[in-house]
């Protein structure tokens, strides 16, 4: 099957579809629930509060340093659940595949999806495969939806933010956005920027079970750290003050952004979390985050303040103040 390409008939629902599902998806994502091949997954949950999220992935290119669209699709939904304080349990997987995609590529992605799911301790319990004509989509689009159980006592919400709370970011920002941009545009940075794409439910679990009073969390994906902070300020009605010198940015990402006229604070992340933590617990929470492989570069970058209601203000390295707004439009590279 490995030399073949995806044909429209692979999505027609007949024998070819069944073969594809069994030989690729059951092989790499297999679990008893999926293997029942029912019209819907039957799952038992013993929780009174569920978090439920969905996300679609259209990354170009589908492989980039640090990950691929499959890994991204699992991490994206797992992290959306994790920042709500949920323990991710089950995912669904919807694939829209362009006719002509090598089956080998699909298998590579299925393997990546399977491995990421194992690492994140989630099961993929339902799926769907559609094939569209060549040119109707770009190689492959993936949707994942997921549910997770939320402990009843946990209340994660911007409403709980209060002046004095500390803001922690779990690692250097902008790596994913720059890695994908460089891979897509063939920008030969050496070494190439590597995406931070990672499932962070373990990391979050470590912080929460460590006892830190976490008020709110956000995964700063599209729009970057600046947009995530601006949303938190707006939703809490409080001000946020961050210090430029404390915001971690890898030197290579900083240099690449400078060359292209882009701002790392607005570049996407796929393996970072912004934590808003009670001030007295901030040090402990930071140490807990830094224990995780994806949180080694975590830093306290600022605090929630009573002034500047609804706004984010950054103290620059020069000691001046700069407001950080939500991303207005796609970041576009400048001319010179």
């Amino acid at each position: 099957m490995n030399d073949e390409k995806i044909l429209l008939s692979h999505g027609a629902g007949g024998l070819k579809t069944q073969r594809l599902i069994r030989e690729i998806f059951h092989k790499h994502l297999g679990n008893p629930c999926l293997q029942q091949e029912l019209d819907a997954a039957l799952i038992e949950v013993s929780t009174h509060k569920l978090a439920f999220s969905t996300d679609s992935f259209v990354a170009k290119p589908i492989f980039f340093p640090g990950g691929d669209i499959g890994k991204l699709a699992v991490c994206g939904t797992v992290n959306d659940l994790a920042v709500m304080g949920a323990k991710p349990l089950y995912l669904t997987l919807g694939l829209i595949i362009e006719e002509g995609l090598p089956i080998k590529t699909l298998e590579h992605l299925a393997y990546s999806i399977g491995q990421t799911a194992i690492k994140a301790k989630v099961q993929i319990v339902a799926g769907d495969t559609k094939v569209v004509e060549h040119g109707a989509c770009d190689k492959i689009y993936i949707n994942t939806s997921g549910v997770g159980s939320v402990p009843p006592e946990l209340d994660i919400s911007p409403r709980r933010m209060a002046p004095g709370d500390k803001i922690i970011v779990s690692g250097p920002v902008g790596n994913h956005g720059m890695a994908v941009l460089a891979a897509r545009e063939g920008l030969n940075f050496s070494p190439p920027p590597v995406s931070d794409c990672a499932c962070l439910n373990d990391l979050v679990d470590g912080v929460i079970s460590g006892g830190a009073s976490v008020k709110c969390m956000r995964d700063p994906t599209r729009g970057g750290l600046a947009t995530a902070l601006a949303e938190l300020a707006e939703q809490s009605g409080l001000g946020i003050r961050v210090f430029e010198k404390d915001v971690p940015v890898d030197p290579a990402v900083k240099a690449a952004c400078f060359m292209l006229g882009l701002d790392p604070l607005y570049m996407a992340n796929e393996g970072r979390i912004v934590f808003i933590v009670e001030s007295t617990d901030a040090r402990d929470a930071l140490q807990e985050i830094q224990k995780h492989y994806a949180g080694r570069g975590a830093c306290i970058i600022g605090e929630v303040v009573g002034e500047h209601a609804g706004k984010v203000v950054m103290e620059t390295e020069l000691g001046t103040l700069r407001f950080l707004h939500m991303l207005e439009a796609d970041p576009l590279p400048r001319i010179c």
Binding site: F258, G261, L321, E328, P331
Partner: protein, 356 residues
């Protein structure tokens, strides 16, 4: 990344102690400086006697509406693929912007280097690929290199719509305008890396104004302002090079030779500044087949005037600030720009919008 030579604390301390005796106006003529000044909040630190004003430094912003209309006309040609730097996508014209035209089905691609446009031409032999050559002396050598590659690979389906401009004639035009009162200039580091420092010498010699070629880190800009303030205080005007780690006196001879081989200066229209003699570059007649204007017989298009309230032309000359525009932040923002200064992240209005 290379760092500037001295710390900002030393510079600021010295600037604050300096008694210049009058308000000095320093103009930057480089979009990257405009953006860096806005982003770092340098204006908040300067003593009140030093006023920074933005000049015509953003290549997208100074591209005349007539040229924008030509771009849009070309983009609507069914056989044409447009390759462009990202900044051009949102500039509004009478039939929309490139972004809107692309949503309507036109083939418009954002590239990061002019060379990428030649690759697109090679990969799509049945398409006519036109690169929108917008920029100053920094971009011109890269465009020349792309044309050279097209010549060498005989890419017959590649051409450029040349809207390249030269900063020195624009600075001369600013200096000849009695309404523009700049006491000194922060000269563009990237452009100077190509042209060197010599071409600015007419500014102190003929006009008695200071010039400092500056780098782009906040500390670079502060040091350059300090150097200019010292020139103005002593009334000893000269061309100084603060950006020694990037700029040599003679510039980049290889890049200059490449430009010289492919381009010749001609008079062009600048938004805000009007026609300026020998301030643009066009392909030499020998390379006319790579000139999209010749190839597609593009005629002069009458530009639809921008919204009457838009004061981009005044902003480009440093006569007005963005906050003096009635549209700024109301009906004009980076997502729906009414004028060019709001389009590029280097435009004065966008820099102010994002960072103020």
């Amino acid at each position: 990344m290379l760092k500037p030579r001295i710390s900002e604390a030393t510079v600021l301390d010295s600037l604050k102690k300096m008694d210049i005796g009058k308000t000095v106006r320093i103009m930057e003529v480089c979009g990257t400086h405009t953006r860096a000044i806005a982003k770092s909040g340098i204006k908040q630190l300067l003593p009140p006697c030093i006023e920074l004003i933005s000049g015509p430094g953003c290549p997208v912003c100074v591209t005349h509406q007539q040229d924008i209309e030509k771009v849009l006309q070309l983009a609507l040609e069914p056989r044409v693929t447009i390759a462009t730097f990202g900044d051009m996508m949102k500039v509004p014209g009478s039939t929309g912007s490139l972004r809107e035209i692309r949503a309507g089905g036109a083939d418009i691609r954002v590239v990061y280097s002019p060379i990428d446009a030649v690759s697109i031409a090679r990969q799509n032999p049945d398409r006519e690929v036109v690169f929108l050559a917008v920029g100053f002396e920094t971009t011109a050598p890269a465009v020349a290199a792309a044309v050279l590659q097209a010549v060498q690979s005989n890419a017959k389906n590649f051409s450029i719509l040349c809207m390249l401009k030269l900063i020195i004639p624009a600075m001369a035009a600013l200096l000849n305008d009695p309404e523009i009162k700049a006491d000194g200039f922060l000269c563009p580091g990237h452009v100077s890396a190509i042209i060197g420092t010599e071409p600015y010498s007419f500014i102190p010699e003929k006009y008695g104004k200071g010039c400092v070629v500056s780098g782009f880190e906040p500390e670079d800009i502060l040091e350059s302002i300090h150097l200019l303030a010292k020139q103005i205080k002593k009334e000893e005007y000269k061309v100084e090079n603060q950006y020694t780690r990037g700029v040599r006196k003679e510039g980049n001879r290889t890049a200059l030779a490449l430009m010289e081989k492919f381009f010749e200066p001609h008079s062009v229209l600048w938004r805000g500044l009007g026609p300026i003699e020998k301030s643009g570059l066009k392909l030499k007649p020998h390379f006319a087949k790579y000139d999209a204007k010749e190839k597609f017989g593009i005629s002069e298009v009458e530009a639809k005037p921008s919204r009457a309230e838009c004061i981009c032309d005044q902003i480009l000359k440093g006569k007005k600030r963005p906050d003096q525009c009635p549209l700024f932040g109301r009906s004009c923002d980076p997502d729906s720009p009414q004028g060019p200064c709001m389009v590029s992240s280097e435009g004065t209005c966008a820099a102010e919008f994002y960072n103020a």
